[in-house]
Amino acid sequence: MVWQFSWLLLAATVQAASLSLQSPRFTISTPDATQLRSDTLSLTEKPEPLTLGPTDTLKLTFQITESDEGKGVQPHQTFLRFYDKASGEEGIQPVRVTPGGKAKFELNMVRPPASIPPTTHNPLEVSLILGSFVHAPAQYDLFDLYLPASQTPAEHPDEASFHVLPAIKHTFRPEQKSPPQFVSAVFAATVLSPWLVLIGLWSKIGVKVPNLFSLSIIPFTALLGAFEVLLVWYWVDLKLGQVLLYGGILAIPTVFAGKQALYATGEWRAGRK
């Protein structure tokens, strides 16, 4: 803004003659020289955006004159500026001007010049910058130009860490599925069913345990029961080390109690007592 304002101010004051653009004209043609579009450029209003295909050629011709006398001049700086507003990429292409002020620029998309910035689907704003050591400078916004999208420029390997990176979610394995509890219960009941048979048969024949509370037998039975309780406790809560410790302690009286119980049973069976 400051620039444009200052040009207006200074074009009138500092330097007498300013540069002006005469008969700017563009032509878009295909490789077989068919003209797709051709028009003169208005300097006050941008035309419809220009679109170039991957093999098309844009031809731009104009003459630079002194605004007062209409004589053609060759300014120091005749630059076409291609600017992508969205990405901020910019390319500057100097244009060769004859001493008579005539200039011709050709943009062949088969071999685009290195000065064309990397393009996306956004248009490039094309403007003409004129500068001179003797004349007041000038700048013209010519048109918007759609070019085929170029390859994205190679990025520095560290560039990614300077931006927000896409979030990554871990995909967890699905939870293990259990069969319905009813099925488990039925099978558990099946496993327990032999007890019914056993108890049924026992009830027919009758079981007698005359020596259950005998002093020789009861300690061993109790210790064996304690082992069973220890194993259930292990399942519910204890760790292996604790089980081995408690089991080791239990084992000592159990050995003697078992020896005693077997001895007593042997005596009974042999009929000695």
């Binding site: 700086q77 990025e155 300077f162 005359p210």
Partner: protein, 441 residues
């Protein structure tokens, strides 16, 4: 011997500490530059508490480093045309200073000097020697090489709304490294050329036809560019030294009004001397949800809470203050590759804290919490904490699965059967004939 060396280390630490507190600056000033003409810039630095020491490029004292330790916190090299320096100023020694956390402010010029080759090491591509920046825009009474440059407000380094600054010097193209921090870009209409008349226009076209870097032109060029190293030391390359001068700081703009040179120079110095945009991670903390202690290891599928505490340096009080202004911090949980990358938002109501809760992946191995926040202009924040993630222990699996009920029933049944059998066999009576004279004992 060990006592002596440890005493020496302590002494050195104390020395660096005492320098750090007074923020000493060495100014290497070319004798051709009048110190009085830079009084606004240097005076401003002294007013902000910097302790300036002046020295000509060829002087041997005061030395920048003694025994490999930097004597100054910051170095200003305002000797853009000097081709030979005293022995202690070489591109290598300046890089050494940066790795020692000493910051540099370097002025370049269109002349080829040792500093030009240093700039190339920082991915700045300079135009051929003796091609200063030229702009015919806007029309003005000053020479074409004295250019008012609009200051972009997008850089976090600069105060918003700085008026255009006067510039004379060489532009540079910027390499692709993201460590570069563009501070001032060239105007779109400007270009680097050594011509003085309109007849040289063909030379510009020829230069551009050389391809690639043939013509230095347009707003992609930098005039003042910073670089932040991996150890967070900072260096600024300015294309010309005159922009820091009193002459340019007081020269009226073509559009009228004072230029922004003085403010711009202050902002640039504040950034390069680590007054601004200086952040650090105070602490990171991780634990299982609901626990208060940092565990030695995590189990797969644990819910983890990760907290980072970040502070920013406040130059006015010279203290670190909790800073909650980062809204795009990200945390990665990586084993070779990130398994989880999630945003790490600031915790409302607790300044400086950033927290996220997530579930550990169901993969075991050695994981890292990685915090890697790099943004142009700001200190890099990097943190990595290694934690093992292990599968559940044998007793951490669920113990009462409904699917296993038949097995439980079988095991209990067998156990109970054995007990019952033992009790019956021992306690039961033997029916039928008793053997007589059995040898069973």
């Amino acid at each position: 011997m060990r006592l002596l060396s440890s005493a020496l280390v302590t002494l050195l630490t104390l020395t660096t500490f005492s320098f750090a507190s007074s923020s000493s600056v060495l100014v290497v000033l070319d004798p051709s530059l009048d110190r009085e003409n830079y009084s606004i810039f240097f005076g401003g630095l002294e007013k902000r508490g910097y302790n300036l020491t002046f020295r000509a490029p060829k002087d041997t004292s005061p030395a920048i480093t003694d025994y490999g330790v930097s004597n100054y916190d910051h170095v200003i090299l305002f000797a853009p045309d000097t081709k030979s320096y005293a022995k202690d100023i070489t591109p290598q020694s300046l890089v050494g200073l940066l790795s020692e956390n000493t910051n540099l402010l370097i002025a370049l010029s269109p002349k080829q000097t040792p500093l030009t080759s240093l700039a190339a090491e920082f991915s700045l591509i300079l135009p051929p020697p003796e091609t200063p920046l030229i702009s015919h825009h806007p029309a003005r009474s000053e020479p074409q090489t004295t250019i008012p440059v609009t200051v972009s407000s997008s850089s976090p380094i600069l105060t918003p709304g700085i008026p255009p600054v006067w510039f004379t010097g060489a532009p540079h193209a910027l390499g692709s490294t993201p460590m570069l921090v563009p501070i001032l870009r060239a105007p779109a209409e400007s270009f680097a050329a050594d011509s003085t008349s309109d007849d040289d226009s063909d030379a510009l076209v020829t230069a551009s036809e050389k391809g690639g870097e043939g013509l230095w032109a347009g707003s992609q060029m930098g005039l003042v560019t910073g670089f932040q190293t991996n150890v967070n030391s900072r260096v600024v390359f300015a294309g010309g030294v005159k922009m820091f001068s009193d002459e340019y700081a007081t020269k009226e703009l073509p559009s009228g009004g004072p230029p922004g040179n003085a403010l711009f120079a202050t902002d640039v110095a504040a950034w390069v001397f680590q007054e601004k945009l200086k952040l650090r991670i105070d602490a990171v903390d991780h634990r299982r949800v609901g626990e208060s202690e940092v565990p030695k290891m995590y189990t797969t599928n644990d819910e983890i809470v990760y907290t980072a505490h970040i502070s920013a340096y406040d130059s006015e009080t010279s203290t670190w203050k909790p800073y909650s202004g980062i809204d795009d911090l990200q945390l990665e949980f990586t084993m070779l590759d990130p398994h989880i990358r999630t945003s790490l938002p600031p915790v409302p109501g607790s300044p400086g804290a950033y927290q996220v809760q997530f579930r550990a992946p169901d993969r075991h191995g050695v994981f890292k919490f990685v915090l890697n926040w790099k943004r142009k202009g700001y200190s890099y924040l990097e943190s990595s904490t290694t934690v093992p993630v292990v599968p559940p222990r044998h007793d951490q699996y669920p113990r009462f699965l409904s699917a296993a009920w038949p097995y439980y029933a079988g095991a209990i049944s067998t156990s109970a059967g054995f007990f019952l059998f033992a009790a019956l066999w021992l306690a039961g009576d033997v029916k039928g004939e008793r053997k007589k004279g059995s040898k069973v004992e």
